[in-house]
């Protein structure tokens, strides 16, 4: 709620406008998908499409309003703040790598190993370089979590190499 330092006027960064455009586009996709929902004439007045149409209309309208707001430079105080600091691509890269490997490997190697890899990549993204410490903590945590969920709560987290031994 601090007073805006910048005078209102066309915004210098385009991020918020793109977000607004994305929401309009998304609203249009919702609209297109809504037309694909088959409606039985029995329910024509209060059928399954009324709410979806409302949501689509609201999203398109809100997206347009957000574009206007971005254009006028009235996005709010976080605008300048969030675009001043550069995004740390390296950190984000490590994190993305961990997430991708997790999805790709969890079915083959099992939860414990896939999660250990995810943990180590995440720790690296947050600046840790102690591979050995991270790996051992990750393995212990994943095993503990697996046993806790599988044995105590009876929730199956899938099978895998290590899981088969336990």
């Amino acid at each position: 709620m601090t007073p805006r330092a910048r005078a209102p006027g066309p915004s210098r960064n385009r991020g918020p406008a793109f977000v607004g455009a994305g929401i309009v586009l998304f609203g249009l996709v919702v609209l297109q998908q809504t037309t694909q929902i088959p409606v039985s004439p029995l329910y024509s007045k209060v059928g399954p499409t009324i709410f979806p149409y409302m949501v689509a209309a609201a999203l398109v309208a809100l997206g347009i309003a957000l574009i206007v707001q971005a254009w006028l430079g009235q996005w709010g105080e976080t605008d300048a703040d969030s675009d001043a600091a550069p995004v740390d691509g390296q950190s984000l890269g490590w994190l993305a790598l961990g997430l991708v490997l997790n999805v790709a490997l969890i079915d083959f190697l099992g939860f414990v190993i896939a999660s250990t890899i995810l943990f180590v990549c995440t720790a690296r993204a947050f600046g840790s370089r102690q591979w050995l410490r991270d790996t051992s903590i990750a393995l212990a945590l994943a095993l503990l979590a697996y046993l806790g969920f599988a044995k105590l709560l009876g929730i199956s987290i899938g099978a895998g190499i290590l899981e088969g031994i336990l």
Binding site: V30, L66, T78, V103, F111, L118, A125, Y146
Partner: protein, 493 residues
């Protein structure tokens, strides 16, 4: 008397050894996640939703309620010692509490926060005990049209009024409603927005959305901004015993905070931000030493902390009596009710007295547990704050994976989790609030159901929402809440 009898029955349920253990587990876990920055009660309860398949409903809700209350206590510890509010509602506590800690009065700040939370939590739970049956009487008169209008009012207040931007809040709300629409329409059996995927026929699980937004999105944001590991934990200094002056300055603030927090929390609008800021403002006005505000005034911790806890109890009133969640945590608790096949609403108190009164009784017990956990044992929680960020966020993502992969053992769910995490990252970057997404997702399908019921009864005549007086009043209130701030600003110019 009827209420007291029911409450006694509730204590009989809550005081069984097993349920005491569930309450203790919930309070401990809740305090821990409240203390840890980046974790909150909504995320924790979402991750624990699978236990609803294993544990009976009463035990599960005693656990969830412990987490809910515990996170409120734990959040204040983080705000005071780290100046990183763990919960949005403890922002105000950080204002004065962290200043107190910097001046070597950390222990006194923690004490007034914990005792204030206890006082407010207990009084507000008494309020919940006696208000709930009254609201139920009133709510029994609601038809589908009134329910729909009430939900519209709640939608407007949680998304447009409470956040920093009405447009962004409403966008998130409609995104949430859309997520809720995915899957087979229960009335006609038509699949909606499934994009031909069999996995989406049953809809998207709220666990995936909550964990994606709160855990994955938050982690991505923090990693990208490098906003971690920069805050120092202020060591605990001073005595936990408050001085006579501290007591004198605190107790009125606790009571005022309680009486601001509970009614606002109990309204269909809900939210803890408004009462905490209001309490801070009032304490500043009433203080004999207003010059201390901004430099560590104890009233500025006592009042808002009490308001925060009282509003947390208040939120349970519309949740239990109307089935109307007004916070992300309440929305996830509602989905836990649904997974037991229980519909929260006016009939809940009649149909499930054991559950409701056991839950309420466990709140009294939980408050006692929490003050013990948070005052004498506060040193333990301070240790948790020292977990290095790389390990903390690594752990959060591992638990996010368990919570999601454990539902279905499907990598498609994990992919969906990360996609929603990416959306959560963008939302965080451009200051879109997450709570309206969760509330829209849970409440949206219920609102649609009431809307279609009302329209069916009126044979397709949409004016039914305006011709019923109560429904029209609720819609007028929603319109006023939406347009009011703009009109006020326009008139002020």
């Amino acid at each position: 008397m009827e209420t007291l009898d029911a409450l006694l029955q509730g204590f009989a349920v809550a005081l069984t050894p097993v349920n005491i253990l569930w309450a203790l587990a919930g309070c401990t876990l809740g305090t821990a996640v409240g203390v840890l920055p980046g974790l909150g009660p909504a995320l924790t309860i979402a991750l624990l939703l699978p236990i609803t398949f294993k544990v009976d409903a009463t035990a599960a809700f005693i656990l969830f309620a412990g987490i809910y209350y515990g996170a409120m206590y734990g959040g204040s510890t983080t705000s005071i010692l780290l100046n990183t509010p763990g919960e949005s509602a403890t922002i105000v506590t950080a204002l004065e509490g962290n200043k107190m800690a910097r001046r070597g009065r950390a222990a006194a700040a923690l004490s007034t926060a914990a005792i204030g939370s206890f006082v407010a939590g207990t009084i507000a739970t008494i309020g919940l005990t006696f208000l709930a049956p009254v609201v139920v009487e009133f709510a029994l008169k609601f038809g589908p049209a009134e329910y729909f209008s009430l939900m519209v009012l709640a939608f407007v207040t949680v998304s447009a009024v409470l956040g920093s931007s009405a447009l962004r809040g409403l966008t998130c709300l409609f995104f949430g409603i859309w997520l809720g629409l995915i899957g087979i329409d229960l009335q006609t059996g038509q699949p909606r927005f499934t994009f031909g995927l069999v996995e989406l026929l049953d809809g998207i699980n709220v666990i995936i959305v909550a964990v994606g937004l709160f855990a994955v999105g938050e982690t991505l944001y923090l990693a990208a901004r490098h906003r971690f590991g920069k805050d120092e934990v202020i060591p605990m200094t001073g005595s936990l015993w408050m001085t006579a002056e501290d007591w004198a300055r605190s107790w009125k603030a606790w009571l005022r905070g309680t009486f601001i927090g509970f009614p606002i929390g109990a309204m269909p609008a809900g939210g803890a931000e408004v009462p905490t800021f209001l309490s801070y403002y009032i304490e500043k006005k009433l203080s004999k030493k207003p010059e201390e505000f901004g430099h560590g005034a104890i009233e500025g911790v006592a009042g808002p902390e009490a308001a925060n806890n009282a509003s947390a109890a208040g939120v349970l009133v519309p949740m239990l009596t109307l089935g109307l969640p007004t916070s992300a945590t309440a929305a996830i608790m509602l989905s836990a009710f649904q997974s037991y096949g229980i519909n929260p609403g006016p009939l809940l108190l009649q149909n499930q007295p054991q559950l409701v009164w056991g839950l309420i009784a466990s709140l009294y017990i939980g408050n006692v547990m929490l003050i013990v956990l948070n005052l004498p044992l506060v040193g333990l929680w301070v240790k948790i704050l020292r977990i290095p960020a790389p390990l903390l966020y690594g752990g959060i993502l591992v638990f996010a994976t368990i919570g999601t992969y454990g539902i279905s053992q499907s990598w498609i769910d994990l992919l969906l989790l990360y996609a929603i995490g990416a959306i959560g990252y963008l939302m965080r970057r451009y200051d879109f609030p997450a709570a309206p997404v969760i509330i829209g997702m849970i409440l949206g399908p219920l609102a649609e159901q009431e809307f279609r019921r009302a329209m069916t009864i009126s044979q397709g005549d949409p004016t039914v929402f305006l011709t019923k007086p109560l429904s029209a009043t609720l819609l007028a209130l929603a319109l006023a809440a939406l347009a009011g701030p703009h009109l006020y600003r326009a008139l002020k110019r």
